[in-house]
Structures are given as structure tokens and as C-alpha cells.
């Protein structure tokens, strides 16, 4: 467009020779100094992504509340006998459905077992199933999601469709069907069954984040270094995709504990020989009208634990949110 070449700007109005009031040439004094161009701030402490996330988290009261809950639950799950003189399965039938007393602070259930003790011993089943399921779900989901997102093409088409199919199956319904057919029912089988239907969410999240991370220029830079695709995925892409996965996994842990309790409540989760909150809640149904405390305590313990993990997920999400990051 040659007509633009000779257009000189601002020829339409003659510009005034003398500046108008308030527009005289002015220069500020040099009292502050300019400093070197683009000097590195060497005074502040180094701060990486995780370090800054930690700094952000530890300022939040919610973080300490949820940490306290989770720590308490974990300690109780490891060594419940430290906190109670009773045994969960040594019960006095003659003292069934007693209300709270100094020796049985939460009372006893239909079998005469100490409700407080069973509540403490039930933590282990929940925590084991929750942690195991989440670990399996993260492994499977990340593998499938990362392969689909990073390699794309046919990998993506096949893996994503497969993910969608599994996603369409309701978790608890599928678990009920499988568990009702299972010959052995242990914490491991429950975790395996829950994990085999619980991974699609993680896979979808991983796929999305991996796809956005892999277009970064540092990935191209790594390629032009001659790094292999797998090495780039492992060293650069996955660590940068970790934040949303961690956030989801923390929240999911709570939901898997609920799922385990649901299965145990229905009598197809952990066997009745294993003390679990779901099983106890199921047992307490009949006594709900007369002795609500039997239902209340295991339910409260379950709710409290799940709340702990969900709060933690919330705090972690706030800390890892890239929009909340400095600069």
C-alpha cells in the first residue's frame, strides 16, 4: 500500500511554538537515582514455586486446622490402642446399648462394645482404603491422562474415549456390582475396585494440564537440546502439571473414604470382622430411635475425616493456583 509511505504524521495542524501554561519543559530532580538497568535483587531469600506455595499455605488458619484433623486421624489409625483401655471386639452383651458412663464415654452398642473404642479402631480401615485408592487412582489416571495429552493423535483418541466410557459408569453402583460378586473382601480389594472406576477424573485433569504445559517454550527448548519425549514428559511436563492433580487427589481421598463407608454400610465392603465406620453405621440403624449416640459417633468421625481432607484440598488449591502466584 504505497499511499501510506509518504504520509507524515501531524501535518494537519500547525503545532504551537510556545508551550501552553502547565506544559513547559519540565524535568524532575535526580534525587532518587536511577539504579542499574534491570539489576538482580540479591537481598531477598530465594523462593521457588513449592517454597512460595508453602509460605502461602502456612499463613492460613484453615491449613493448620485441616493438618491437625488429618494428623489426628492418621495417628489414631496407626495406633488406636493408645487412646483406649478397651478392645473393639471384646464386648459385654449384658451392657448393650448403655448410655455414656465414665468407663464408656460414648456408651456401648447393640453388642455391648465400647462405641468410642470402635470409633478409634474404625479409622484405620477408612484411612487405608482412602490412601490406597487415591494412590492407585493417581497412578492410573496420570499414566492414561499424560499419555493421551502428551502424545495426542491416536493415543489421545483411544485413551480419551476409553476414559469417557469409564467416566460414564457410576462409581458406587459399579463397586456394588463388583463387590457383591467378590469372593474375598479386604481393604485391598475394596481399594482396587474403587480405583478401577475412580480414575477417569484424574485422567481428564492430567490430560488437560499436560496439553497446556506441553506448548510452553521451555518444552521446545528441551526438545532442541535433544532430550527424548519421555524424558521431557517426566522432567518438565508432569511436574508442571502436578498442582491440579494434587488438589484433586486431596479432595478425592475424602470421597473414596465415603465410598468405602457406603459399601461397608451395604454389607459388601469390608467384612464385619473388620471394624469400620460404614459397618458400624449400618449396625446402628436399628437403634437409631432409642440410642442415637450409636449412630452419631461413627458418622461424626467419618464426616470429620472427610472434612479434614476437603479443607486441605481447598487450602492446597489456593496455594497452588497460578493466578495467586507472585508476579
Amino acid at each position: 500500500m504505497p499511499e501510506h509511505i509518504d504520509t507524515t504524521a501531524g501535518t494537519a495542524t500547525p503545532r504551537p511554538r510556545t508551550p501552553r501554561p502547565g506544559q513547559q519543559h519540565f524535568a524532575a530532580s535526580v534525587d532518587e537515582g536511577l539504579g542499574a538497568v534491570d539489576a538482580v535483587d540479591t537481598t531477598s531469600a530465594p523462593a521457588g514455586f513449592w517454597r512460595e506455595a508453602w509460605r502461602g499455605m502456612r499463613r492460613r488458619p484453615l491449613f493448620w486446622v485441616s493438618t491437625a484433623i488429618i494428623l489426628a486421624v492418621v495417628v489414631v489409625a496407626i495406633a488406636p490402642q493408645l487412646f483406649t483401655p478397651h478392645q473393639p471386639r471384646v464386648c459385654d452383651l449384658g451392657n448393650a446399648l448403655a448410655s455414656s458412663s465414665p468407663s464408656h464415654i460414648f456408651g456401648t452398642d447393640r453388642q455391648g462394645c465400647d462405641v468410642y473404642t470402635r470409633m478409634l479402631f474404625g479409622a484405620r480401615a477408612s484411612v487405608v482404603v482412602g490412601v490406597l485408592t487415591t494412590t492407585l487412582v493417581v497412578i492410573v489416571g496420570v499414566l492414561i491422562g499424560a499419555a493421551a495429552g502428551y502424545y495426542g493423535g491416536w493415543w489421545d483418541t483411544v485413551l480419551s474415549r476409553f476414559t469417557d466410557i469409564v467416566f460414564a459408569i457410576p462409581l458406587v453402583l459399579a463397586a456394588i456390582v463388583i463387590m457383591s460378586l467378590a469372593s474375598t473382601r479386604t481393604a485391598l480389594t475394596v481399594a482396587l475396585v474403587l480405583a478401577s472406576f475412580g480414575w477417569p477424573n484424574i485422567a481428564r485433569i492430567t490430560r488437560g494440564t499436560v496439553m497446556s504445559v506441553k506448548h510452553n517454550e521451555f518444552v521446545t527448548a528441551a526438545r532442541s537440546l535433544g532430550m527424548g519425549r519421555g524424558a521431557i514428559l517426566w522432567r518438565h511436563v508432569l511436574p508442571n502439571a502436578a498442582a491440579p492433580i494434587i488438589v484433586y487427589a486431596t479432595v478425592a481421598l475424602g470421597t473414596f473414604i465415603v465410598a468405602e463407608a457406603t459399601l461397608s454400610f451395604l454389607g459388601i465392603g469390608l467384612p464385619s470382622s473388620t471394624v469400620s465406620w460404614g459397618g458400624d453405621i449400618s449396625q446402628a440403624r436399628g437403634a437409631l430411635r432409642t440410642d442415637p449416640q450409636v449412630l452419631l459417633y461413627p458418622s461424626a468421625a467419618l464426616g470429620f475425616t472427610v472434612l479434614g481432607f476437603i479443607l486441605m484440598g481447598d487450602v492446597v488449591r489456593d496455594a497452588l493456583d497460578p493466578k495467586a502466584r507472585k508476579r
Partner: protein, 586 residues
């Protein structure tokens, strides 16, 4: 100013502003001692400290400054659109005789659009993608008190779009933003900004996201339009050349303070404050002009950044990279029919000599980055070949390809995306050494220290993380990483385009020093011809995948043979300014 223009002008389409007897001696906008602060987690940050600013009716004024200088904050304070926790903590803003500081929100809203229009920075994100352009311009009309019927409004929208320079405005009004190019979107934003015939138009970096030729057309048009309407314009820009070309009065801001203000030409010719002096000396658009002046006077261009040994004495150098008839065809989504093929690079040939810099220049979509990626071996050419040191890289086996990587390294544009945020600076620079199994842990650490020193960063930087560094510092880290393996060629893909002028000049100087010290060859990809003048020995001008002109830098700048090259050169902001050799050098 005698006749107050009524706030609701309704269907009164022909503005009265141009015909009104406007008192040109009374300031339209007067900002005095403006203080703006933001509350952050780290405490209160003073973003603007005592800024003064005067705009007369119909006048164009520019605020110039680098990122973080408070120039946008000042403009946003005027229309009370400060983001987040921003608050005006002192000073006064008088507009047309009214004090704006402390004005109730309702009254400021009434002022916005009707008396003070805004053309925002990013044409991509400032239009709602789900609404038609016409609807959005019409909304601007309605919000500012347009009271005509639907048909009248439609006619007015078309008129506004036509005025902003869009051809076939009725049809354009029915289109969606994604059907518009960046320039067309910016034109519709200008139409919206001027819809209610404001007395003042604030243009916040109105064209910095656009190609230079488009930028020039739009600024020319905006200037014509605002002159016809008698609208005063307040430009916010980082580009001193653009500011000086488009505004009669300049306000230079630095760290929240106005460090210098005055008539544009006077500031360029005789900058008083050291910061302005630095800015004038480093502005690439002005520097390139200065070099030409130096040539004409027969003087040695002392401030020439590129200080290569004399061409005549130096022995002829081997050609390190030869691109032969490179062509890259992309198959667009939607089946394998021929109609969906897109030739990004079309029969491109160039040679890069050892120790020299070759610039590939072009606007967005010209295929320059695609060509660079083929040279880097990251993209396979559809046809043609890239020879590196006499060997065709397209036929490399895995092992050969891996060895080839050591000899050519890239530096990318985006200083925020080119470093892994989770890697410390040490790991970032060490990575190439580890991948290529160079040395042991101790010798690698020594090398990282050396490299940091080479790019003028303190060794303590290596414990830091990318988010702690500025854009220029990150870019220097990226250069250090690229240098780690002692490559012969570095591909700089818009490597300085995202940086502030002073930082850009610093990085260019660094690149030039490194070239002299290490004998590097650069393939320099950029859209910015002004920068090319400072760094390149040879230039290839690309347009729509083809090289339209190539030659020695001086030859291209002094006597371009192609219309497109001439147009690009003329579009450099500040190119039309007469800047004498009295401007102090860097």
C-alpha cells in the same frame, strides 16, 4: 468553553464538538500531584507518586514509560477504573472544570464513554467473542444515552464503523470478533471509544499488539478522526518514537513519578533527566534513524551497537547454515483436501555466514518462525533442505541429530514461558550439560558460574527461580542456557521483542558482545525492523511465506527495492522524525 454539551445527546449524530467555539486556552484535563497506591500482601505499594499532567482541548498528549512505571495506572485513575486494591490517595484530577477525585461512582460512570472514551490495549480480549460487533458498538451507544430507535441505532453503528475505517460496515456489524483481524478489532474498539463523541480519548497502548504496517494505518486514521472531531487524545505507550510522532506533548514516567514532560520535539532533542536521556539513547526506532544520519554526515557511527571488524579486511567466512528452497505445508484441520493446505513457508533460501547475524524480518504469519524451526530441526521441511556446516540435517540419524543439537540452540520470545518455573536457575542452565553428559557435577557448577558471568548476572542468581526474575533477566538466563554447550549458531526467535526499551538495548548489547567474544552466528527472527538495524549484517524480508527482498542491512535500509520493504520501513514509529545528531549517544 461556554456551551456545555448535554450528557444525553441522543440522535444528534453530527458532533457539535468540532463546530463549538471551544476555549483552547483552558485545560481540558488537569492532573495535579496524583498519588495512587495498591495494597498487596507485602504492604502498600505507591504506584503513582505526585504525577502532574495537563491536556488542552483537541490536543494529543502521550505518557511514555516502561512496564511498571505507573503510566497505565495514571490513565485508569482518571476514569476511576483502577484494578483490584488500587486507590487514589492524593492529588486532584480536574476534567472540564470538574473535580473527579472523590466523585460518586454514578457520576464517574456517566462521564466514562460520554466525555472520556477509552481504547483499550488488547483488541483480542476486549471484545466479547459471543456477541456481534454491531451489538457491542450499539451497546456502547445505548450505555451513553443514545435514544433513537433500533433502525437508527443500526444506522449509527454502521456509520461509526465506517468512520473507524472499516469497509462494508453494515455487513461487518453483523460479524463476530473472531471473523475480524487484529487491526479490524482495534478499529471497532476505536469506533466504540468515539461512539459518544467524548472530549478526551484515552488510548492505552492502542496498537502494541498489531503489526507495524497495521499500527501505522490505524494511528494515522485515529489521528485524522480525532482531529476532525476535535477530540483530545491521551496516549499511553512504551514506545518513545511512537509517542513523539503522534503527540505534541510528552510526559515521561519512571517508577511512578513524572521525571520529565514538555513539547515532544524538545524532549527528544534535549532530554534533561538522566532517565529520559537513557530512553532517547536506547530507543531502537530513534537509534536506527541516528545511524543513518551519521552515514549522511560521513561521521563514524560511534553508537552503532554492531561493531564488526571491517568487511573489506576480514577473510571470507564459511557459510554455516544454508537453507535451500525450504517449503513447509501445513494441513489444516478438516480433512485432507487441497483446499485445506496452507503454505507457511514457500521456497525460501538464505545463507548464514559464520560469526555473522542474519535477520528474518516479517509481520505475523509471514512464516519466519516456521523457517527458524526448520533450521533448528524441530520441524521437518515439506521440501527443500537445511545444510549445517555443509551437511544436510534432514537426513540425520538419531545419534547425528543429537550431536547436531549441541551446535545450534534457540532463545525464544516469551520470557515467561521459556524457562521451566519449577527449575532453579542452576538446574535450568545445567540441564543442557547433563543431557549431553558433559563433565561431572563440580565442573558443571563451574560452567554455570561462568555462563552467569557471561550474561552479566551475579552467581547468587543460580539459587533463584524464574518467577523471581524480570523479563530481561529471564531472557539472559535463556541465553546462558543456549550458550551452555558452546553452540556455533543461536536462533533468536523474537528474543528481545517482549522487553522494555532499556532492557532490550542491554540484551542486544550483550548479544553483540557475545558474538564478538565467542564467534557466534545468529539467526535473528523479528518483526521489528528498528532492532534489525542495530544487530544484523544481512536481512531477509519475508511476506506470506516468501522472501521478498534480501541483502546487506545498510542496503535494505538505505535503498529498499521492494514496495513492501519500503512500507515496513516507513511504518517504524518515529521514522519520520527529524532527529539531529545532537542527541547524546548511549
Amino acid at each position: 468553553m461556554t456551551a456545555q454539551i448535554p450528557l444525553t445527546r441522543g440522535t444528534d449524530t453530527q458532533s457539535s464538538a468540532a463546530t463549538d467555539p471551544v476555549d483552547m486556552t483552558k485545560p481540558l484535563l488537569e492532573v495535579k500531584g496524583l498519588e495512587v497506591s495498591f495494597t498487596t500482601g507485602a504492604g502498600v505499594v505507591q504506584a503513582v507518586r505526585g504525577a502532574d499532567l495537563v491536556v488542552y482541548p483537541g490536543q494529543s498528549v502521550a505518557i511514555v514509560g516502561e512496564s511498571g512505571s505507573g503510566k497505565s495506572t495514571t490513565a485508569h485513575a482518571i476514569i476511576n477504573l483502577l484494578p483490584g486494591t488500587g486507590k487514589v490517595t492524593g492529588g486532584s484530577i480536574r476534567f472540564d472544570g470538574r473535580e473527579l477525585v472523590g466523585l460518586p461512582r454514578k457520576e464517574v460512570e456517566a462521564l466514562r464513554g460520554r466525555e472520556i472514551g477509552l481504547v483499550p490495549q488488547d483488541p483480542m480480549s476486549n471484545l466479547n467473542p459471543v456477541w456481534r460487533i454491531g451489538t457491542q458498538v450499539g451497546e456502547a451507544l445505548t450505555a451513553n444515552g443514545f435514544e433513537g430507535s433500533r433502525a437508527e441505532r443500526r444506522a449509527r453503528v454502521a456509520q461509526l464503523l465506517a468512520e473507524a475505517g472499516l469497509k462494508d460496515p453494515e455487513r461487518r456489524a453483523g460479524q463476530y470478533p473472531h471473523e475480524f483481524s487484529g487491526g479490524m478489532r482495534q478499529r471497532s474498539l476505536i469506533a466504540m471509544g468515539l461512539a459518544a463523541r467524548p472530549k478526551l480519548l484515552i488510548a492505552d497502548e492502542p496498537t502494541s499488539a498489531l503489526d507495524v504496517t497495521v499500527q501505522r494505518q490505524i494511528l494515522d486514521h485515529l489521528e485524522m478522526l480525532t482531529q476532525d472531531l476535535g477530540t483530545a487524545v491521551l496516549f499511553i505507550t512504551h514506545d518513545l518514537g511512537l509517542a513523539a510522532e503522534r503527540a505534541e506533548h510528552l510526559v515521561v514516567m519512571f517508577k511512578g513519578r513524572v521525571v520529565e514532560s514538555g513539547p515532544a520535539r524538545q524532549i527528544l532533542a534535549d532530554p534533561q533527566h538522566p532517565y529520559t536521556q537513557r530512553l532517547v539513547a536506547s530507543a531502537p526506532s530513534l537509534a536506527s534513524r541516528r545511524i543513518q544520519v551519521g552515514h549522511e554526515l560521513g561521521a563514524e557511527p560511534q553508537d552503532l551497537l554492531a561493531q564488526h571488524p571491517d568487511e573489506a579486511v576480514a577473510p571470507p567466512r564459511a557459510e554455516i547454515v544454508v537453507a535451500k528452497n525450504l517449503t513447509k505445508v501445513f494441513h489444516l484441520r478438516g480433512g485432507g483436501r487441497d483446499a485445506n493446505e496452507f503454505k507457511a513457508v514457500d521456497d525460501v533460501s538464505f545463507t548464514l555466514s559464520r560469526g555473522r547475524t542474519l535477520a528474518l524480518v516479517g509481520e505475523s504469519g509471514s512464516g519466519k518462525s516456521t523457517a527458524a524451526n526448520m533450521v533448528l530441526g524441530l520441524l521437518e521441511p515439506t521440501s527443500g533442505a537445511v545444510e549445517f556446516d555443509g551437511v544436510d540435517i534432514t537426513g540425520h540419524s538419531g545419534k547425528e541429530a543429537f550431536r547436531f543439537r549441541r551446535r545450534i540452540q534457540p532463545v525464544f520470545q516469551n520470557p515467561y514461558g521459556s524457562l521451566d518455573p519449577l527449575f532453579s536457575i542452576y538446574r535450568t542452565i545445567e540441564e543442557p550439560l547433563r543431557v549431553h553428559r558433559v563433565g561431572d557435577a563440580r565442573s558443571r557448577e563451574k560452567r554455570v558460574r561462568e555462563l552467569l558471568d557471561l550474561v552479566s548476572l551475579p552467581a547468587s542468581t543460580m539459587r533463584r527461580f524464574p518467577n523471581e526474575l524480570s523479563g530481561g533477566q529471564r531472557q539472559r538466563i535463556a541465553i546462558a542456557r543456549a550458550l551452555a554447550l558452546n553452540p556455533e549458531v543461536i536462533v533468536l526467535d523474537e528474543a528481545v521483542s517482549a522487553l522494555d526499551v532499556l532492557v532490550q538495548a542491554q540484551v542486544l548489547t550483550l548479544l553483540n558482545d557475545l558474538q564478538a567474544e565467542l564467534g557466534l552466528s545468529y539467526l535473528f527472527i523479528t518483526h521489528d525492523l528498528a532492532v534489525v538495524r542495530q544487530i544484523a549484517d544481512k536481512v531477509c524480508v519475508m511476506q506470506q511465506g516468501r522472501i521478498v527482498e534480501q541483502g546487506a542491512t545498510d542496503q535494505i535500509f538505505d535503498s529498499p527495492t521492494q514496495d513492501y520493504t519500503r512500507e515496513l520501513l516507513a511504518a517504524i514509529p518515529g521514522a519520520s522524525l527529524e532527529i539531529g545528531p545532537q542527541v547524546p549517544a548511549a
